[in-house]
C-alpha cells in the first residue's frame, strides 16, 4: 500500500514562543557554586555507598535520600570515549571544524562517570585509562560551564 508522493508540503511553523523555567534545585545549585570555587562535589548514598556526580537527591537503586556531600576529583580516569566528527545543531548534523573527544570520566572518589570533553591531546592519542584533570573557568560565571573540560594530568 503506497500513495503518490504528496506534492504540497505545508511548513507549519508552531506559533508558540515560550521558555521552560526549570528550577535546578538545591543540589545542582550547590554543585554549580562549588565549580566556581574549583571544586567538584558529589553526594554519597547511605544505602550502597555510591558517590554520585553530578549530585542528585535520590538513589534509584536504594530509593533513599543521598545527603552526605563529598568532594571528588579534580583528577580522574577516562573510562570510555568517542571522537566526534560531527556536531548536532538543533537536530541537524554538521561537520565539526576539528575532531574532538567526548569522554566518560571516573573522577577520583566518584562511583559514576561524568561526560566531558577532553582537550590538550590529539584525539588519536586518547585511550581508556588516560589520567585527566579538570580545567575550571576563571573568573567563574556561575554556570555548569565553570567546569570547562579536562586535559591530560601531570
Amino acid at each position: 500500500m503506497s500513495a503518490q508522493q504528496e506534492r504540497i508540503i505545508a511548513n507549519v511553523v508552531v506559533p508558540l514562543d515560550f521558555t521552560y523555567n526549570y528550577r535546578v534545585g538545591p543540589y545542582v545549585e550547590r554543585y554549580i557554586k562549588s565549580l566556581g570555587q574549583k571544586k567538584i562535589m558529589g553526594v554519597k548514598c547511605p544505602g550502597d555507598d555510591a558517590v554520585v556526580v553530578p549530585p542528585r537527591k535520590y538513589c534509584g537503586r536504594c530509593n533513599a535520600i543521598m545527603d552526605e556531600w563529598v568532594e571528588v576529583g579534580p583528577e580522574g580516569t577516562v573510562e570510555n570515549y568517542t571522537v566526534g566528527h560531527v556536531r548536532l545543531n538543533k537536530g541537524l548534523v554538521e561537520k565539526a571544524d576539528t575532531e574532538y573527544v567526548l569522554a566518560l570520566i571516573k573522577l577520583d572518589g566518584a562511583s559514576t562517570l561524568l561526560p566531558a570533553e577532553v582537550k590538550g591531546i590529539a584525539p588519536m592519542d586518547v585511550e581508556n585509562g588516560l589520567r585527566v584533570k579538570a580545567v575550571f573557568k576563571d573568573p567563574a560565571e556561575d554556570s555548569l560551564n565553570d567546569l570547562s573540560y579536562f586535559v591530560p594530568a601531570g
Binding site: 504528496e6 570515549y81 566528527h85
Partner: protein, 332 residues
C-alpha cells in the same frame, strides 16, 4: 505496515487500518478497545492521538493512548484483553518524524534539562557511539564486527518492500566507506529517517480463531526499565532487556531460548545494539558477536536469524519499530 515519506499522517493511518479491517472482514465496530501509540513531541501537539482517532475508526469508542513505546502499547492492549473486559483490541502506532521534524531532536528533548541538556555533550549519536565503544571494549572486539552486522541488515532490508535504507549486496567494506559520525559509529550503522505505521488486531483466544485460520499467539511478555543516567550504566550490555526477556520466557515456558526459538527481531536502531540485545535475550553467548558475524549465524538460514526484515537499519519508525519487528518475525 505502511510507509511513505510525505503522506499525511491521517491518510497513512486510514489506509493502513481500513486495509487491515478489510483483510479480516470486520469493521471498526468489531473492535472492543483502541490503543493508539505515537509521541506528542514528534507529532507537535499534546494528546497526539486526538487526530488519529478519526482515521483509525475510534470515533466515540473506548480508546486510550501510549506515548512513545510501541511494544508497550501492545502489552497494554494484551492486558486489556486478559482483563476479560474486551474481546478485541486494535493497536496502531505511527510516526511521521522523518518528514515533519528532525528526528535527532527526540533525544535532545529526552535529556535531563538541568544538566545534560545544558552541557550539550550528549545527543542521539554521541550516546550511541559511547554505547558502541563500551560494547567493543567489553569483549575486545574490532569495529569490523559492527560493519558486518550493518551490512547483513542492509542486505536483509533489500528483501523487505517496506525498507527505506537497503543494499542488496552490501559488504562490511561499504559500511566502512561511510563516514564516521562519532567513532566507532559510521553513517551506515545508523537507522534511516522513516515515516511509517504498524497496526495489529489482538483478540482473545476464541475470538482470534473466528477471525483467522492462522492466529499468532502471544505466549509471554516482560518489561524492565534501566536507569536514565549514562554514567551509571554498563553500556556494553542491557540488564533491562535481559530481565524483561527472563520474565517473558518464564511466562512462555522457554528455558533455552537459543534452542527453542527459530528467529528474532530486535529493536536496534544502531548496528551495535543488535548483538547487545541478542546476547541479553540469550540467543547467543555474551561476547560472541565476532564469531556470529564470521560464521553467519545470524544470517537468514543461520542458526538464529536476527532481524531478517533488515531491522532498524532498514527502517526505523519511531514508536513502532519493535513492534513492526514482531510483525515481521511472525511473518518469517
Amino acid at each position: 505496515m505502511s510507509g511513505s515519506i510525505g503522506m499525511p499522517r491521517e491518510r497513512m493511518l486510514f489506509e493502513l487500518v481500513k486495509g487491515l479491517y478489510d483483510q479480516l472482514g470486520i469493521t471498526r465496530h468489531d473492535i472492543g478497545t483502541f490503543v493508539l501509540n505515537s509521541n506528542d513531541f514528534e507529532v507537535g501537539h499534546t494528546i497526539a492521538n486526538v487526530f488519529e482517532d478519526t482515521p483509525v475508526g475510534a470515533y466515540m469508542k473506548d480508546e486510550t493512548h501510549v506515548d512513545s513505546e510501541g511494544l508497550w502499547a501492545t502489552t497494554y492492549a494484551a492486558m486489556r484483553i486478559m482483563s476479560g473486559n474486551y474481546e478485541t483490541a486494535l493497536v496502531v502506532g505511527n510516526s511521521s518524524g522523518a518528514s515533519t521534524m528532525r528526528p535527532y531532536l527526540m533525544m535532545d528533548y529526552q535529556l535531563d534539562p538541568t544538566i545534560d541538556r545544558q552541557a550539550g555533550l550528549l545527543n542521539e549519536l554521541s550516546t550511541a557511539a559511547l554505547q558502541a565503544r563500551a560494547f567493543l571494549d567489553k569483549y575486545g572486539l574490532d569495529e569490523d564486527v559492527l560493519n558486518q552486522i550493518a551490512a547483513r541488515n542492509l542486505r536483509n532490508a533489500a528483501m523487505n518492500p517496506n525498507a527505506v535504507q537497503f543494499k542488496a549486496d552490501a559488504t562490511a567494506g561499504d559500511v566502512l566507506e561511510s563516514e564516521y559520525l562519532y567513532e566507532p559509529l559510521r553513517k551506515l550503522q545508523c537507522y534511516p529517517f522513516s515515516d511509517g505505521a504498524c497496526a495489529m488486531v489482538l483478540a482473545s483466544g476464541d475470538r482470534a480463531k473466528e477471525l483467522t485460520d492462522k492466529p499468532v499467539w502471544i505466549k509471554g511478555m516482560g518489561n524492565s526499565v534501566e536507569t536514565y543516567y549514562i554514567g551509571e550504566r554498563d553500556l556494553g550490555s542491557s540488564r533491562s532487556a535481559k530481565m524483561a526477556a527472563e520474565r517473558a520466557y518464564k511466562m512462555a515456558g522457554i528455558s533455552d531460548p537459543a534452542k527453542q526459538l527459530d528467529v528474532a527481531e530486535v529493536a536496534a536502531k544502531f548496528a551495535h545494539q543488535e548483538p547487545i540485545l541478542a546476547e541479553a535475550l540469550g540467543l547467543f553467548e555474551e561476547g560472541s558477536a565476532a564469531r556470529v558475524a564470521t560464521d553467519g549465524l545470524a544470517d537468514i538460514g543461520g542458526s538464529m536469524p536476527i532481524c531478517p526484515s533488515g531491522g532498524g537499519l532498514g527502517a526505523y519508525v519511531f514508536t513502532a519499530t519493535a513492534w513492526c519487528g514482531s510483525r515481521n518475525a511472525s511473518a518469517s
